[in-house]
């Protein structure tokens, strides 16, 4: 998933340029979130854009990147079937 790869690249770039304790704490939260490739589905959209902003994403790139992270493809790839069925509908 190119958007996921791009995000990981941005995180690593940010890691190299940590300047404050606050930045460090924020990065730790992102690291924790990124243990789940589907984490952007669980995040409030404004928080999600806040993360992209923190990682230095420009407005012209932000929507495409966000859409990729919550794309159907990402959803299908990273959602375990069991969870997927439970979340969707028990009648299937």
């Amino acid at each position: 998933m190119k958007e996921l790869d791009r995000l990981k690249e941005l995180i690593e770039d940010k890691r190299k340029n940590i300047k404050t304790e606050d930045d460090k704490e924020k990065l730790e939260i992102i690291d924790e979130l990124m243990k789940n490739d589907n984490c952007f589905f669980n995040l409030n959209v404004e928080t999600a854009f806040g993360i992209l902003d923190f990682l230095g994403v420009k407005p012209e790139e932000a929507l495409g990147l966000y859409n990729g992270l919550i794309s159907p493809k990402n959803y299908m790839q990273n959602t375990p079937k069991q969870v997927y069925y439970q979340e969707n509908n028990k009648t299937k």
Partner: protein, 732 residues
Amino acid sequence: MAGFATTSVGFNPFNLNFGKRYNVDKDDKYTDYEDTEYTSYDEIDMSKQDDRAWYEKVGDALSSVGSTLAVGATSIVSGIADVGESLVDGTIWLGGTIASGATSIFDEDLANDIREGTMDVIAYDAVGEANKAFYENTEIGKAINDASIYSYDSRQMQGVRNISKYATEFAGATAITVATGGLGGVALAGATGFVAGSGDMAEALFQDEENRDYGRDSGLIALSGLGNAVSWAAMGRTGSSVSKAVSVMKETGVKQFFSTSLANIKDLLKSVDLKSLANNKFILSMLKNTFKDPDFYLDTLGVSANNISEAYAMWIKTGEFNLNWKNLAAELGFAGALNFFAGGVQSLADLKKPFKDFNIETKLARYNELMKTAMSEDYIKYMDNVANGYAVVLNAEYDEVSRELSQLTREIDDYVTYINNEALVQNSPHVELSLKQDILSNCDLKTDELTKARQLYLELNKRMNYDINYYKGTDEMKALIYNQPVSFDTLKGNAVVCKGWSELYQELLIESGFDPNQVRIMGGNNVNNHKWIEITLKDGNIIIADATDAINHSIDLSNCKGGFSTNGFFYADPSYSGARLNKLQNLNLEEIGKQWLGMDQSIGYASGNYQAELLQKADNAFSNSSLYNSVFGGNSFEKALNNMINMEIPKNMDGYDTYGYFNKVKRAMFSPEDASKININLSFRQTELGTEAVTLISGPNNYAIYSSSTGRHVFTDFQEYMDFINTLGLFR
């Protein structure tokens, strides 16, 4: 039957304790360990007819079986070694092909030399030559071979060798897959099978020195490798099942493991030639006993884990797979062989018949004397007769064996069907589970008491709400709510107060295996008295569980629904018995609650951290950014809705998939207030291919329909949207 854990490569079948070992002196005479020499079979008291009859039986029971076992043992080991040799041969062939191909670019002569050398190395049947040398060139080998019912190169022993080879391949493919954790290993097992199969074929073709041709034969070798790869991959899939079964065993206990193992045996039985197997009851019985024993799977896993995991880790890291196949094959074979012999011991015990009439000590003493005369021609002739008689007995038992095997297969089939049905019922989304079943089915009831109590606590709390009528109602209403007995059978809705919650939790704990004496509802009996649960664990400690009390300003009925850490589940020594958590002012229950994180991760309630707390942290840290407004601007709701319904949908998603997906995105992209303006519904329609699901999205000025056959249709006009829907013949 005990299994054998093995680590050593060296394996001498003659050290196995199925017969006494004899020395051969320089004059080729057999001596026992006390150097007592016997020269004639007739010197032993064989004058009495009844003794002769007795010896016939003893010979049947022990001598022929002993010698046959010896030959059988080497055949088994040969089969195991065959796999190792095939792997080595296949690797050499691959290496030779690559090396000669590369070399031919600059030096065709050298390339030909490489090809010739490769063919010579592969053509040498190391295992066959070793067997031949032993049985034909050593006296002990000759004697054993002659006394055996079947000679080492007989069709029957070749069959044993093949069975052993198959069993080893099966063990190898299974172990590789198990050790590499499932499906990844299937491919690896397939690749190994390619090497083994190509090695097998290469040896056969290159032994024909006059007609061999590297280029032409290599095509056939590759084809053979491919065929074997399919076979190994199939076995690897079984290994994948075993892999899963091993995990399942850890998680849910032995029963499920056995069911999967039985399914594997069934697959194995399907894939072997039962008729040829049934020609030798003993080997068949060994095979059956071997594969019935879970130790076999665990041993093969154990001996190969180190070898494979290291190589596999290196493969992942560097892309190079440098496994020492020879060691691995030998170790796997060793484990397989020892379990096979364990099966043999069991099979001997099962046979019983030859032994039951005799006193074992007398029998062994006379047998020892008898064996010392093994050079006598009379005896050898006699043994031949016994052997023939034994073969007749074997043949006579053919039908019985077939019946047993069919019965075994049927039993396995029935059991697998039973397990599958059980799984079907458990997994079937069409079955409406009762609330209690729903909770229990979401918990691992075979785990330890503490984990089980924790899981039931979390699952119950996720489903129950506090009955607000208790606070708002009159005194009569309070009394009515408080005093009515609550059980899952009589429960209406999901609202409870402390007493009802305690009764439900108590019911779940007892249903899941706790002794009723271990679970007590605590608190007074007045309508205003609080109630909670105290569990006495077998380790002597207690659990105080209280989901309905406000502890540190929160109650666990809410915490559990949000994925937060809990405050009302306290594991303590018995000195805390009777305490109400809310009154334990000296304890920081919030901090104590977070100590459950490890267990909650293992049971899936929390991931890296408690999900809700992590999301809350993220909201606090990142929600003040201006990027969202920069992108969506003033009319963010409509733009976000437009963005959502125009997401690119892959062709493999059907209307049902999109229903789940859009609901997920709706929760992510919109506040609860905005989300309530968007309806996402699931409907169905009949098509030529059957019933298909259709997702319908309707929000202010944006409407969309999606299904596999219609694709996506987006509308901004409500009437157009409705007109289109009417053409689809939707039903719910």
